[in-house]
């Protein structure tokens, strides 16, 4: 197990490095120049040139990259080009909100997807199946930003139950934190639940056809026992894969949710930094984001082994 972990982490290094190289070169292909953006409309050409020199933007890209990488290896992600804040501070400020939102969204998705998925797979063709399939289709088609806005209109403006936006860190005030986070979590979670529910349904339907399910039933086992203990567990592998993808996608992809609900999250940090041509911050943030995705993938792989003992971690070539 440890060997597996170690090997996977080792394999992640080139992946992450490749990501940084790509981000670095793509960012530098962007037409706007950081010095121009920082100095704004009123900038004189001399001032822009002086700032470029000061920021080291006149050096060859390779040198800039190596310099940055050198810093990263020493645990220094550099300082924001815009206001000189250490990038690691910016990331630490923004990451908790996004992690919380990701986890919350995922929990909402699971809470909805598992029961509806099981229901529609065990009663294919029934009206419950049609209803949950329709629900899933709706969940996937209704834009979550629209849903978010509707939530705000209903719960914040009309009913006044929840704050319209704003974020309070969990450890500062858990109640206010949850009040602010519940709407974004549900709005985004509904969409993800739809995807997950469809996955559970199809995977479970397939398993339900298997011989061992028939055997289980013929032994006189109850519905609940067969579905939860035999079928659902075996249906989980593709579901876990999808879940991994969902979580990885959420980590960097919550920009719109974060904007609507004014949550100071990671996605917004990346987008704002791109607008400001704050290359150093974007690079740092994407590096962290890549590392998080690697971790999520690792967790998914480990989960496989827990769910299905036939998949052995660390042994065999196909892991």
């Amino acid at each position: 197990m440890l060997v597996f972990l170690f090997r996977r982490l080792l394999l992640a290094i080139p992946v992450v490095l490749l990501v940084t190289v790509m981000v670095f070169s793509l960012l530098h292909m962007l037409p706007g120049d950081p010095a121009t953006v920082i100095l704004g409309q009123e900038a004189t050409p001399e001032a822009v040139e002086a700032l470029r020199e000061e920021l080291g933007l006149n050096k060859p890209i390779i040198l800039q990259y190596l310099y940055w990488l050198g810093g990263v290896l020493q645990g220094n992600l550099g300082r924001s080009l815009v206001d000189h804040t250490p990038v690691s501070d910016l990331i630490l400020q923004r990451l908790p909100a996004t992690l919380e939102l990701t986890i919350g969204t995922f929990i909402v998705a699971i809470l909805i997807a598992v029961p509806t998925g099981i229901l529609s797979a065990t009663r294919p063709g029934s009206w419950a199946d049609y209803l949950s399939t329709t629900f899933a289709l709706g969940g996937m088609s209704i834009p979550h930003f629209w849903l978010g806005m509707m939530f705000i209109v209903l719960f914040a403006v009309r009913l006044g139950w929840l704050p319209a936006s704003g974020y309070v860190p969990f450890f500062e005030n858990p109640v206010a934190n949850l009040a602010a986070m519940i709407m974004p979590m549900v709005a985004t979670g509904l969409r993800e639940s739809a995807i997950l529910m469809r996955m559970i349904r199809s995977s479970l339907l397939e398993v339900m056809q298997a011989d061992y399910i028939r055997t289980a039933y013929s032994k006189g086992l109850k519905d609940r026992a067969v579905i939860l203990h035999h079928a659902f567990k075996n249906a989980l592998v593709p579901v876990v894969t999808t879940s991994g993808l969902i979580v990885a996608g959420l980590l960097g992809g919550l920009v719109i949710t974060e904007s609507i609900f004014s949550i100071p999250g990671f996605g917004r940090l990346i987008v704002e930094s791109i607008y400001n041509r704050d290359f150093v911050t974007v690079q740092g943030a994407i590096l962290v984001s890549a590392l998080l995705v690697v971790v999520v993938n690792l967790v998914v792989d480990l989960l496989y082994a827990v769910i299905d003992p036939r998949i052995k971690v660390g042994k065999g070539a196909d892991v």
Partner: protein
């Protein structure tokens, strides 16, 4: 299994109910968290973007200045009528040759870190802003020398008479930051802004909020009235409006145009729509085809129906424009006249330019929905004359870069505006000016603009600007579309708000009911 089905069903059904509940027009009274006291309390202001740099010396964003009003005092300020009034400089004398300004400073003013505000601090700030790395450098380039006469008197010498000088000191270049704090924090000052203003910087979570606390030692007696200001970053104007409606913010610095009419009778808040100092319009690149032909520029200018843009897209929250001078400026008036769209005349111009069947060009626009709508309206307005407009959406950083490099045909870039007319015209048209993205050059215009900035008499200056604008409007290097209005939403629980034409919310005199 039956039980399970039942419970699952309850869950699904309750969600569906929730969803349908959204669309039903259920009316419930909004609960506002309005406090009763006259002084004290917290004022929540929503800002449409996160201020990038809380350092007046480095700032380039309009939104920074909203927050600056509370943290930093300036040498002088402007009042509701746009007139210059004393602030940290309680009086000043201008020498006969208009080149030397002697400022007498307020005494007993302290920075938030406890250090004294005095002549040395003023000199320090001038020098800091005249440094290469500051965007203020260009504004202060006429300053040749700053000297300390006595601890509370400062003398500033200019290279030549320069009319906008005081106006410049009513903005970022005149904001006084603590020299001790600059030395202490260095590059990190932006995260620890220290001024003499009515509120003290307390905390900031980037992308979320900025909290300021009352400056209990503020030099203006009885001010400020509030205990705390929280600037909340809410990027979506509709979400900001919902926060205003639900009482979570007391003021919004932007208001969705489409909602202005609907909100007129709202019992909980007022909408303020007042002319600002800026303008929106389109740069035409005169250095390359097609807009190196004057007639083509004139034709485009002539075909644009400004009233339609203002009425349809801005719901009236703007003033049609034909000059850089907004209705708040003394230079407004004569120069802002323009012709109604005239298709026949435009066709004649096209014929004269050898393009009787029209031509096509690419108009680069920003990414906001309003940018796009303006672009599409122009597209439609030019079509009857056979002028084909290709819209190209470009993110602002890129747009700035491309226009500065001359890599465009037409580009929609506006200007947030400044109090003095010179600051809205000079750098945009003078040969080689830093904002002359149109690459326009005209010796007579250069001469007039120089003459205007050396003249202190407003009436005389207006005449000179009228002359300059006559030439510029004939040559059309830039198409003025409209002067933006500043549109705020303000809760009725807010007292003492006074609109100032720079569109910045001055929090010092505000209290909450």
């Amino acid at each position: 299994m039956k039980n399970m089905t039942k419970s699952i069903f309850t869950v699904v059904l309750s969600f569906l109910l929730l969803l349908t509940g959204c669309s039903s027009g259920e009316k419930t009274a909004t609960n506002e968290g309005v406090s009763q006291e006259k002084t004290g309390g917290t004022l929540n202001i929503s800002l449409d973007s996160d201020p990038p740099k809380l350092d007046p010396s480095l700032s380039t964003a309009l939104v920074d200045r909203m927050v600056f009003q509370s943290i930093f005092d300036k040498m002088v300020d402007i009042d509701e009528n746009g007139e210059i009034i004393p602030m940290l400089a309680k009086e000043w004398k201008i020498s006969e040759d208009l080149r030397t300004y002697t400022f007498v400073l307020q005494q007993g003013v302290k920075f938030h870190d406890g250090t004294d505000f005095n002549a040395e601090a003023v000199k320090f700030n001038f020098e800091r802003n005249m440094d290469q790395g500051s965007p203020r450098k260009n504004e202060l380039k006429e300053v040749s020398k700053v000297s300390v006469v006595d601890p509370y008197t400062v003398q500033v010498e200019l290279k030549r008479p320069f009319a906008p000088f005081l106006s410049i000191l009513a903005d970022r270049a005149g904001m006084m930051v603590s020299p001790a704090a600059v030395k202490k924090y260095g590059d990190d000052f932006s995260n620890h802004p220290v001024g003499t203003g009515p509120f003290v910087f307390k905390e900031r979570v980037k992308g979320s909020f900025i909290t300021l606390e009352k400056n209990t030692n503020y030099w203006k007696k009885g001010m400020p009235k509030l205990n705390q200001i929280v600037y909340k970053i809410i990027t979506d104007a509709n979400v900001a409006l919902m926060n205003l409606k639900s009482g979570q913010v007391d003021m919004t610095n932007r208001f969705p145009f489409k909602e202005i009419e609907k909100s007129k009778n709202d019992p909980n808040f007022t909408v303020i729509s007042e002319p600002g100092q800026g303008y929106q319009g389109i740069h035409l690149n005169v250095s390359k085809p097609p807009f190196d032909r004057k007639e083509l520029r004139q034709a485009v200018d002539l075909l644009i129906d400004r009233d339609a843009i203002v009425n349809v897209l801005l719901s009236g929250a703007g003033t049609p424009a034909h000059s850089p001078f907004s209705p708040t400026s003394f230079a407004y008036g004569e120069s802002d006249r323009y012709e109604k769209p005239d298709l026949q005349k435009a066709r004649d111009l096209l014929k004269k330019a050898g393009k009787p069947n029209g031509f096509s060009f690419t108009l680069k626009i920003g990414t906001s929905p309003l940018n796009q709508q303006v672009g599409q309206m122009i597209q439609t307005m030019l079509k009857p004359a056979g002028i084909q407009v290709n819209l190209e959406k470009v993110e602002f950083g890129t747009l700035l870069d491309q226009t500065q490099k001359g890599n465009y045909e037409a580009a929609a870039i506006g200007w947030s505006g400044r109090p003095d007319p010179d600051q809205n015209i000079y750098d945009f048209y003078v040969t080689g000016g830093p904002q002359n993205y149109s690459f326009y050059s005209n010796a007579e215009v250069d001469r007039l603009l120089d003459e205007a900035r050396a003249e202190l008499d407003e009436a005389k200056r207006k005449t000179i600007y009228d002359q300059a604008m006559k030439i510029i409007n004939e040559e059309v290097p830039y198409i003025y579309l409209y002067h933006d209005h500043n549109v705020f939403g303000i809760s009725k629980s807010v007292d003492g708000f006074q609109y100032v034409p720079d569109g910045l919310i001055r929090t010092v005199g505000i209290s909450k009911r």
